[in-house]
Assembly symmetry: C2
Homo-oligomer: 695 residues x 2
């Protein structure tokens, strides 16, 4: 046993003299010893080797290559001592790569490159299994038409075009990446009557204007393509099985599937992603009026709204869809005392190409974490609660397999879910960042204080805080975009997402191990850093006497969100008695006070009531779940958090109100007010119960 | 007589029912009638014809072509009924064009274009008398060296390079236009040891990234070059005759001239301006580290700090200087009642090429104004005070001939100068803007309220205010950059600069009549608009019973400036008792109150004391003049306003303090405090005297 108790003495200076939230009596000291042991188990080499193995070939969901990744992960976790289960699903996926190309047809014929350059500095770039650029769930079609530039293809961009009297009907819309989830570019383009859509990476946003380009630097070169899904349904997950797990067709339990033609909201127009080297050819030939303020990008031309009649572009995209098998891999360390309270750390493992930063820097970190936790357990420190390490499939196509798993175990998760930590591409660079539900914010801040930032005298917390004068580091609010969605917004499990980031060539064939070791982190010390943060957070939740939720943060953050909503609604509500969030803000302040009393009581909680206290704490976040769901999609059930249904990536806090505001409506504000007041009252009552139990 | 009393009935709706500041009893009504008559005299066609004639050939200062412009202006003003005088000076000017070119020498030989393209849409662009790009007062030299990019070539940019450990010693610095007066780019490059300097127009600042380029639009095309002077001495005007007028060598009064070699501060390194089509060739070949944040421009490459050893660029510039003859042309309408109180409106007429927007849109406007005022005088409305219309020479080389004129008539101007209005390129576009000394701000605001904005129901004031929620339109503070400098900062005459602007191809051969009629103002209505504003302001000052200075504005604006200075000094003064501007702010507030009382008293001023009141008012601004001058140059004598001696273009308000702050010094703050308190006390005493005289 290489890493065992012998290194316990190497407690870092960060880990000393801290009273840990959730630990009673001298359990705090014992936990510190466990953490010190844990913090000595990480190795850069181990992380590096996992990453190299995981990313040796392109592994799109549904391919044999991805099954090889699946088997490697299962093997590593089994060897680490975890109970490993594999969960297969049959989901409705695009058949890759299909046909996908574009060309200028008039005034000259120019084929437009849509595959990454082969660079001698990156041996992976010549892999024969790499595909050209495509978007998953595009419509199919072969269209030749004039072009219209639509900036980022956001709702407001299409509205601006309409206001300018520019029709995209029958045209090919050219939009740049950024500003929203790419699926919404397709959704709006189709809604406004476009015949096709080209989405390009603008060098002003992600290319040479940002810094040196690949392979000299970490920014997109003129051949770098962002692939990605276009799925924008009213729910997350498999298009054919909303609310239900897409269990294999041959499984005993039969799931009722929608027929593909019953699924409304799939896109019909052909959509193709292009690199800026190709987009340049189009922009160089556009005529007509220059763009409105803010629409100019980094190509060396004045951007214009329309291409004019002399410029014709062809987009030919043919993409089939069929039911395909995907697999989640979940490893479990069963809790020694509270096996029915689950802490889950997960990341997807499927990629658009090699996936070195996205997602497999997170996967490699989780594999290393499973090994470290396994060693810790073997040396006598089994977690008191259950820790699960999950590897999700088919995230890239639309956060699918994690959602199916949540739907499969919804009841169990409602009863047992303590927290979900997401690690999608979690060690992609050298800058630490995180987003969180309120109740995990305190844990994240405290945990990062005991993890050193490599090659410096700082903790991760200090590095994260940087030179800010603020009281705490920038800890965002969680929304859409990855595998926490079902846990957080469908079931109501406190969720957190964090790790290190930096410039990457997102969703490109150039996101290889070669990219990683040259740009993302040549030291390979960031994987261990992130593992330490995930590990400390997991171990504190797992071993705490009472769950270390940041109870007062609910009220605190609610006030901020209601104040933001007040500004949003005041901007359009010009009635004589405009809606006021006053009573909700008042309720938030009271909730914060109750939360603070609760936290104070928990510091010296009555040990006899521990079990009851934890059960109540566990159900706090679940109070946000409204079985009727949101007006824009009843699969989204959290009254607290949701992906923004108009852009996809952004976080909507208090989404029922956000939806009203987005539609400039006041009709339902009073109705929602009552629902939110009721929820806050339930939260408050639960906190008061906990306080009583603790005293 | 085409325009006479017959049109008096066409009083515009803007001109009615206003009580005019400075007019007593029913004189306000009479003035309104005069203004109504004046406002009916403008004609687009007249403005257009003047502009076309003035700009038919390139007319650099010191050339025969510029003498033809001189003669045209003199003729127009004489015909209009003004007394016209021509003031010759012999000044030390560069001999144009000399030699000026650059080429890439290694790794390939590429000559770099430095002359504007000939466009068929602009017949002027093929004029054989147009020169290549050059900078006046460059040093001479033929150097071949590696290149270093220095962003805007500002003080802070060279400091940043030094901090990064990058030496420019022996290198050719490449800097983009913008951020400061170009002469300072040369000054700092030379100070840091550069062998040469290339200044280029960046497409991100002024080219395709801003909008359509010439001749399709009004932005620089890849051949457009900004010419301009590099002169950065410790004074403004002729390099050989600071403080003294550069009277002709053959004039009776002999002026002592410095020998050229005695003038310290002239640049020695060769400096060349280039268009972005040429700069692109350099940037495409640079190697090495990418630039710091904010240094990236609009060329389609990642900007790098150094070119590296493989890239060698040659700059060959040979430019002689000799004493040359230039001429101011001044037309005078002698005041009928107060001939010794002068209102002067002026603009330079020399240009780098045709000068359609800069400066001759202002010249054409002033010629039209002289005609309108002449007609008004002939129809019986002679101004009570003297109005002078001045056309300055050799402004482009360094605001020279206007300065010589001020130095020639310094004593008279100190005694008689009521106001100076500057009209440099005053009708260059369609957006109205202005900058002013405090005492003329009220006049500017009130005057623009009676001038209609063409083809709209708005006044110029309303157009200028736009959609701002602010109490007044953006009325800037006057600093460096044009012919007001000597009037305002050397003699202390209240000054104002205003007109209409928009995108122009500044200091380029493309600034032609063709550019003007296609982009600056196809309607030619802006010239008349600006003429109306200048005319109303002039006539109000000329005819007022008591000068309509905005007396309370001194105190008001002083507070703003002291508050700004407090922020500047607090940023570096970390002593235990940091310097406080409290007593100065207090004095400003008291001055404002005294000013308000003074303004109130002036509304019903005792007519018997009119003459005495005006004499006191006339000397208010002169209180700012400190004969010892500023620490960075004793020619700059106003304690209130100065060009920023570190950037040239920016305005320094309360420059003695600004100089301390720029040097992060606290040593002299207390000394200056006393000087400013004394000045404020003198202003206050003068205001109190006026109030007494008025009551």
């Amino acid at each position: 046993m290489k890493y065992g108790l012998a290194i316990l003495i190497l407690i870092t200076h960060f880990a000393t003299a801290q009273t840990l939230t959730g630990f009673l009596g001298n359990n705090s000291e014992k936990q510190s010893q466990i953490e010190a042991a844990f913090l000595n188990l990480q190795e850069s080499e181990r992380f590096k080797n996992h990453l190299k193995t995981l990313t040796k070939e392109p592994h799109v969901a549904g391919t044999k290559a991805n099954e090889r990744v699946r088997d490697y992960m299962a093997e590593v976790m089994r060897k680490a001592g975890l109970q490993v289960e594999i969960f297969p699903y049959d989901i409705y996926l695009p058949v890759m790569p299909g046909t996908a190309y574009a060309e200028i047809v008039e005034p000259v014929r120019i084929p437009l490159n849509n595959k990454e350059y082969i660079h001698k500095e990156d041996p992976f770039s010549s892999d024969p299994n790499l595909h050209m650029g495509y978007n998953a769930y595009t419509g199919s079609g072969d269209v030749t038409a004039e072009v219209v530039y639509a900036n980022y293809g956001r709702k407001e961009d299409f509205e601006k075009l309409a206001a300018l009297g520019i029709s995209v009907k029958g045209k090919i819309v050219v939009a740049r990446y950024g500003g929203n989830f790419r699926g919404y570019k397709a959704k709006y383009a189709e809604a406004y009557g476009a015949a096709g859509l080209i989405i390009f990476t603008d060098p002003g946003d992600s290319g040479y204007a940002k810094g040196l380009v690949y392979p000299e630097g970490p920014y997109y070169d003129e051949s770098g393509i962002q692939r990605g899904s276009l799925l924008t349904l009213d729910w997350t997950g498999d298009p054919l099985t909303p609310f239900e797990p897409a269990l294999p067709l041959d499984s005993k339990k039969k799931i009722t599937r929608k027929k593909p033609e019953e699924v409304t909201g799939m896109h019909n127009i052909p959509v193709l992603p292009l690199p800026y080297g190709a987009a340049k050819e189009i922009f160089a030939r556009m005529k007509g009026k220059p763009v409105p303020a803010g629409w100019q990008g980094g190509l060396p031309y004045t951007y214009r709204i329309e291409g004019g009649a002399e410029l014709k572009v062809r987009v030919n995209v043919q993409q089939k869809r069929e039911i395909q098998r995907v697999y989640n891999v979940v490893g479990t360390l069963v809790g020694s005392e509270l096996p029915n309270e689950w802490i889950i750390a997960g990341a997807h493992y499927d990629a658009w190409g090699f996936g070195a930063t996205d997602p497999n820097s997170g996967t490699a970190m989780l594999l290393a974490l499973s090994e470290s936790l396994g060693k810790l357990a073997q040396s006598g420190y089994k977690p008191k609660r259950t820790i699960k390490i999950a590897h999700w499939d088919a995230e890239e196509q639309g956060v699918i397999a994690s959602t199916e798993w949540v739907e499969q175990f919804r009841d169990e998760l409602e009863a047992k879910g303590v927290a979900y930590f997401n690690a999608d591409g979690a060690a992609s660079g050298r800058n630490f960042g995180a987003a969180s539900s309120p109740s995990l914010k305190g844990l994240a801040i405290e945990s990062t204080k005991v993890v050193p930032y490599p090659d410096s005298s700082k903790s991760v917390y200090e590095h994260w805080l940087g030179k800010r004068a603020a009281k705490e580091p920038p800890l965002g609010n969680l929304g859409g975009g990855s595998d926490h969605i079902a846990f957080y917004t469908h079931v109501g499990i406190p969720s957190w997402s964090g790790g290190t980031g930096g410039p990457t060539i997102y969703h490109s064939n150039h996101d290889s191990f070669s990219f990683y070791e040259r740009f993302a982190d040549p030291t390979f010390k960031m994987g261990p850093l992130v593992e330490r943060v995930f590990g400390i957070m997991s171990l504190r939740l797992a071993n705490a006497d009472v769950l270390p939720y940041n109870v007062s943060r609910y009220g605190n953050d609610l006030r901020t969100h209601f104040e933001g909503l007040q500004k949003l609604t005041s901007a359009y509500d010009k009635s004589s008695a405009p809606y006021s969030f006053e009573s909700l803000i008042k309720a938030s302040d009271e909730l914060k006070k109750t939360g603070e009393e609760c936290e104070a009581a928990l510091k010296t909680a009555n040990e006899a009531n521990k079990k009851a206290i934890n059960q109540e704490l566990l159900l706090l976040e679940r109070q946000w779940i409204d079985k009727q769901g949101m007006p824009y999609g009843n699969w989204y059930r959290s009254l607290y958090a949701s992906p923004d249904p108009y852009s996809g990536y952004a976080s909507w806090m208090l989404p029922a109100f956000q939806f009203e505001a987005a539609n400039k409506s006041t009709a339902n504000l009073k109705i929602w007010e009552q629902k939110y007041l009721d929820t806050i009252a339930r939260l408050k009552a639960k906190m008061e119960t906990i306080t009583k139990l603790a005293n």
